[in-house]
Symmetry: C2
Subunit: 342 residues, 2 copies
Amino acid sequence: MSASSITDRFPNWVRAAALGLAVALSSSGQALAEADPLPSWRDGAAKTAVLGFVETTTDPASPKFVVEDARVAVFDNDGTLWAEQPVYFQFLFALDRAHEMAAADLAWAATPALKAAAAGDVAAVLAGGEAALVELVSATHSGMSVEAFTAEVAAWLAEARHPTTGKRYTEMVYQPMLELLDFLRAKGYETYIVSGGGVDFMRAFAEPAYGIPPENVIGSLGNASFVVVDGEPRVMKDPGIAFIDDKGGKPIGILRHIGRRPVFVAGNSDGDLAMLQWATAGEGARFGLIVHHTDAAREYAYDRESHIGRLAEALDAAAASGWTVVDMAADWARVFPGDPAE
Amino acid sequence: MSASSITDRFPNWVRAAALGLAVALSSSGQALAEADPLPSWRDGAAKTAVLGFVETTTDPASPKFVVEDARVAVFDNDGTLWAEQPVYFQFLFALDRAHEMAAADLAWAATPALKAAAAGDVAAVLAGGEAALVELVSATHSGMSVEAFTAEVAAWLAEARHPTTGKRYTEMVYQPMLELLDFLRAKGYETYIVSGGGVDFMRAFAEPAYGIPPENVIGSLGNASFVVVDGEPRVMKDPGIAFIDDKGGKPIGILRHIGRRPVFVAGNSDGDLAMLQWATAGEGARFGLIVHHTDAAREYAYDRESHIGRLAEALDAAAASGWTVVDMAADWARVFPGDPAE
């Protein structure tokens, strides 16, 4: 996607070795080290806080130093690393799949929720509440192996375009957050996604889009089963939800997967409140970051009243908790990778 | 634990950089590269197969070369990395905890299963079947935060001794497997535990014992909840089992956690059959290894009729599947780290 994320396709040790070589061989090592790691962030309190935190936690002489093994950074995905309006992109994928499946099999859309989905009627599906959403996800995200599903998502991402911007969905990642991911990794932080989205869906793009490999993606889980068909063993995606990685599920998902309390945590909605609270309550240096969508011109402006990514309790808690609230309109010089810096 | 596992406390890139430096600066680089990486393995078919596989999958000129990102190696724990007789060590931990909890609260052992556990009556607990085991695990593995539980396990491991060998449980890890883990990591493989044991239990010792960090431990999961008590956010261990990482659960657990099909898979029982089948059915080079407990003198001899670690179907499938069966008595010059080489 971006030039910076391409470098993440190399394993950490290659990049570390390359950096070491550059410092050893070149008299410009100092100049390199002083280049702005966050060029799409405008100077201000948020950028200063991020840079200061990473500096102090990676300086062995600092009382706030964090050993490299403990440098765990977790990021929500929808609304934190890429956009989430007018509805979650995974929901738009499910609608497109419903449309295809209904066209291939006229009997497929047998319920009101599936009929609405096949017709692309977002409002009607949402009116059905959580039951309709679970039905839609079950019907469109099951009946194939995990690997076949991820390949379908990748194929969809290569073709589909966002309904209002006309961009590819993977072009709607936030350039400032890509820079932050790169910067944290360059400083020895391990970066993870912790999202309410489906883990198999996200793994279709997390590595090329963010430099986050499959094993660092934590998300909601569908039911699954192991079967051997004609001698071929497969893990199948089954109907039903096994685990929802949202709200209180996020700290649980993090502990189950990583087994450590993160040092750096970023989110954008009340779904991230529990992980913000839990991570930043840990001993030693901790950093909580909230992306506040304030930019109706370049992206979207929403918070307390939004049906997607509602941000109220977490925003209220931010000041008392010492979390950094990023004002997208004020703090970011650029939103999407293709945009000009302003 | 062992000298070799100490080196694993350094991150991969430090070891890779150190290796690169050694090769570049020293004329003894060639000699270093030729040192036997598996000194506790006797020369034979198993050792030759392991060395040959790692050599061909890490040689860029080989048609079986595997890129570093895909070098995923998974290991069962009980009976594969450490001993599991006379019963799983986690079960012995649960018995000790039941004894303590019953002593502290006379009303605690209110059911036949808990009474038997508190009295250390292994046979009576096992006679209660899976229901008694779930009851015992629920009662002894819940009611505290995940972090407090792991600290309790660590304290137990520091004191408790195996009922027949008198060793610490962490002294009953297999030296040849420690060498194999080290060798794979030195060759760019990422090593994981994939065990039916509880993930929070294993994380108490996996890193010091095996050099496997918390985020690379995959296991069975108990129920959990997020709570805020007196302003302190915690993830609590609750009664009940959320996921059993055994048999068909192992491929599911691997895909949920890693999102990749392993290249190298090691187990010792029919509980590992599904992950052996699934991993080695993948395209390209794959390696399946079964530790066969044939050594009544130095460890234990058991397979088809054992109540723990039953090995029958997987043993029958090994030849046709091309898996390497390690004959512990014949193939290992040493079993536990403290033993003399024979």
